[in-house]
Symmetry: C2
Subunit: 398 residues, 2 copies
C-alpha cells in the first residue's frame, strides 16, 4: 500500500512537471548566464522570467526578487542584513520585535545569536490562546531604535494565520521606517491569497514546501529597503544574496509557484475540507483529543495539530509510521535539544500537551482516502498506547 | 549541429545517472530524516552514505563531512569560520596568507571584506610566471598571528596545479596550528589523484563542475580544526554549516563523485590528450597565439587559456558562440567590474593579453570531434577579428 504522507512542512515530493522543467536546464540548456552569447542571454532571460513570476506573486517588481540557496541562508541574509544596515546608519544597537512562537531554524536561531553577540535587542511578544499576536502589542513595542518586526505569517506548529494586514498598518502608523519582514518559508499556498506588498517590506520563502526543489529560496525586498549583504560572493546577479544563479532550481521553484497559482483557491479549499474531516473525525472517534492552536477560525487549512492525552508524540509518530502513515511530532525526544515544543508551551504552558503533540501538514495532493486511512488507524494507535501508558486513567487500561 | 561546450568551469550538464539518483529522493523517498521512523532513518542512512563517499575521497572520516547549499556559502563558512574561531581564542586580529591569483567569488570577495572590516589582515603572495606559489614564500609569510593559508589547488583561470604537498609540509614545519584550507571548488577531477588529508586541514568543493547538481557543496573539516559557525540555522545535522539536508542534491553530488572515481585516471588522461590537441592545433594553425599559464608542466589537464594577439576576448567568445562553440573570456567587458582578469595580469602584467584571453575548461565528456570543430573554426574567427582590429599589424589586414 502506498505511504500516506502528512509531513509537508519538513519535505514534499517534487512535482513531475517541476522535474521536467529542471531537466531542461540540467541537460539541454545547462549553460551559464552571460551577456555576449546567444546561450548566455537565453539563460539570463530564463532567470528574469522567474524573477517576474515571483514578483507578480509578491506584488513587487522583478528586480526586487533575488534567489538564495537555502531558507536558512535566506533568513540569515534578511534578518542580519537589516541589523547590519541599521548599525551602519545609526551606530547604535537595533531593536527587533518578534513573537515567542517563531520557528527555530529560520527566525529564532538568528535572533538568539544576535542577542548573544550584543548585535541586537529582541522583544518576544506574547500571543493569545489562538497563537495570535495583537497589532496593538506590536505597535506599543516599537521604540526609537526598532529596526524591524519579523514573524511568520502562518505559524509552523499550530497554523495560526496572523493578521498581517493590521500588523503592517500598525507598524507604519507608529514608525514609517520600521521594516515588516515576513518569514513565509512554511506558508506558501497556505495563506489566503494576499499580496505581500500590501503590508510587508521584505519576504523570504522557499518553493520546496509546494512540491518544488529544495534550495529554491527567494527573497522579495521592496525597493529602498535597507539590507546589507552578509554573504560575500558575486555581485554580478543578485546584489544582496551575492549568489551565482542555480538555474535549474530557480526554474523549478518558478514552475512550482506557477502550478500553485493555476488554481490557488481550489487547492486552498481542498486542504480546508481535508482538515475539517481530520479534526471532526478525530474528535468523533477518539476520546480526550486536544486541538492545539485555533479552530476553526484563524487557522491555515494545511495545519492539523493535536495532542492525544496521556501518550507521547514520538510513540504516536512511530506507530503511525508502522502503519504506513507519516506524521510529525512536537515531542522533546524528536528534538535535538530535548525540549518540548515552545509553541505549544507558549499557548498552554502544559508540558504534557507539548510532549504529546503530533502535527500533520497537508498538501493539495493529499486525498480523502489519505484522511480515511489516518482516521481508520488513529483510534487503534491511541488505544494501544494509552493501554501501556503509566499516566493514563484506568478506563483506558482494559 | 550539437553545441560544442568548453565552459565547464561556469556550468556543466548534469549526468543522466545523477538525475536518476536525484529523482529517487525527489519523487519516491522524498521524506525528511528523523530518528523514530522507518522512512526517516532510511533518509539518515542515505545522508551518511554520502558523507562516507566524500570522506573516502578526501581521506577523512564520514563525520568530518558537512554539506553546504552553495560554494559561495561554503567559502564564507570556511574562511570566516576560521577567522571567528581565531578571534574567540586569541582576541587579536588573525593573519591570512593567500595568493594574488585566487578566484573572486570563493576566496577574494571574502578576504577583501575581512580586510575592509578590520577582521583580518591578509598577505597576497606573488606567483611566478607559471602561476606557482613557492612553499618557501608561504613559510616565510607565516607570523605569530597567522591563522590559515587559503588557496585553490588548481587556478581557475590558467590551470596551475600548486605543489600543495610541499606547501602543506612547509606550513606545518613552521607552525603546526596554521590551518591549510583548500578551495577545491574548481578542481574536482582536475588534479592528480591525491588524498587531501595528506596535506590539508579543510577543503571545500562542489560537485556541479563534475556533472553533479548545482548547490552540491561539501566541506571536509579535519577533526579538531576550529571553525565557528557563521550561518545560524539548525544544528541537528551539520554543526558547522547548520543546514538542513538537501537530500536529492546531496545524493546527486555523491553520485557524480562516484562516477568520477569509476575511472579517474582514464578521465584525466582523456582531458590531457584533448588539451594537447588544442594547444598544438592552435599553435600550428594560428599565428601569434600566447599560451597563458604553465605548459606543458604544472598545468591541470582541463585548462586551456590563450590570447590571440590584437583582438578582444569577448569578441572571440561571440564569434565562437555564433559558430556553436561555447568558450569563456577573461576580458573586462564580460566582467561586472569591467576589470581585466587579475590572474593574467599577475602573471604577465599585460593588459592587452588579459583583455584578449579566452579560456576553455574541458570535461571528460568532451571529444576529439569537439576539439576538431574548435580547431576548424578558430583560424577563421581570429583572422576575421584581426582584419577589423585597430591594433593589428598590416599583415593581418588583407
Amino acid at each position: 500500500m502506498e505511504r500516506v504522507y502528512f509531513d509537508h512542512c519538513r519535505s514534499t515530493f517534487v512535482d513531475k512537471r517541476v522535474i521536467e522543467e529542471m531537466n531542461i536546464w540540467m541537460t539541454e540548456k545547462y549553460w551559464a548566464p552571460a551577456p555576449f552569447t546567444s546561450t548566455g542571454t537565453e539563460i539570463q532571460e530564463a532567470i528574469e522570467e522567474a524573477q517576474a513570476v515571483w514578483a507578480s506573486f509578491f506584488g513587487g517588481k522583478p528586480d526586487e526578487v533575488q534567489f538564495a540557496p537555502s531558507e536558512v541562508v535566506a533568513s540569515n541574509i534578511t534578518i542580519r542584513g537589516v541589523v547590519e544596515s541599521y548599525w551602519k546608519k545609526h551606530d547604535t544597537m537595533p531593536h527587533i520585535i518578534t513573537t515567542e512562537i517563531e520557528a527555530g531554524s529560520t527566525v529564532l536561531s538568528v535572533l538568539r545569536k544576535l542577542e548573544k553577540g550584543k548585535l541586537a535587542e529582541v522583544t518576544y511578544l506574547k500571543v493569545d490562546e489562538n497563537g495570535l499576536v495583537s497589532p496593538d502589542d506590536v505597535k506599543n513595542a516599537i521604540k526609537d531604535n526598532t529596526a524591524m518586526v519579523v514573524m511568520a505569517d502562518v505559524n509552523f506548529m499550530v497554523g495560526t494565520v496572523q493578521d498581517v494586514t493590521a500588523i503592517g498598518k500598525a507598524i507604519k502608523e507608529k514608525k514609517e521606517d520600521v521594516m515588516f519582514v515576513i518569514d513565509a518559508t512554511r506558508s506558501l499556498g497556505r495563506t489566503p491569497r494576499w499580496k505581500y506588498a500590501d503590508f510587508a517590506d521584505v519576504v523570504y520563502t522557499d518553493a520546496h514546501r509546494i512540491h518544488g526543489p529544495k534550495g529554491s529560496s527567494v527573497l522579495w525586498i521592496k525597493g529602498g529597503a535597507s539590507i546589507s549583504p552578509i554573504i560575500w560572493g558575486s555581485v554580478t546577479y543578485f546584489k544582496i544574496t551575492q549568489e551565482k544563479p542555480n538555474v535549474p532550481v530557480i526554474r523549478g521553484g518558478m514552475k512550482a509557484l506557477q502550478i500553485l497559482l493555476e488554481d490557488y483557491e481550489g487547492k486552498y479549499e481542498k486542504m480546508k475540507n481535508l482538515q475539517k474531516m481530520l479534526f471532526d473525525g478525530m474528535l468523533e472517534r477518539i476520546p480526550e483529543v486536544q486541538i492545539n492552536g485555533p479552530w476553526p477560525k484563524y487557522r491555515s487549512p494545511s495545519n492539523v495539530c493535536v495532542t492525544f492525552k496521556y501518550i507521547e508524540g514520538e510513540a504516536v509518530q512511530m506507530y503511525f509510521d508502522m502503519n504506513g502513515i507519516t506524521v510529525d511530532t512536537g515531542s522533546a525526544c524528536a528534538n535535538p535539544f530535548l525540549q518540548a515544543n515552545h509553541v505549544i508551551l507558549a499557548l498552554y504552558n502544559d508540558y504534557a500537551r507539548a510532549h504529546g503533540s503530533i502535527r500533520l501538514i497537508l498538501s493539495w495532493y493529499n486525498t480523502e482516502e489519505d484522511v480515511n486511512r489516518f482516521l481508520d488507524v488513529a483510534p487503534e494507535v491511541v488505544k494501544t498506547l494509552r493501554r501501556i501508558s503509566p499516566v493514563a486513567p484506568e478506563i483506558y487500561k482494559k
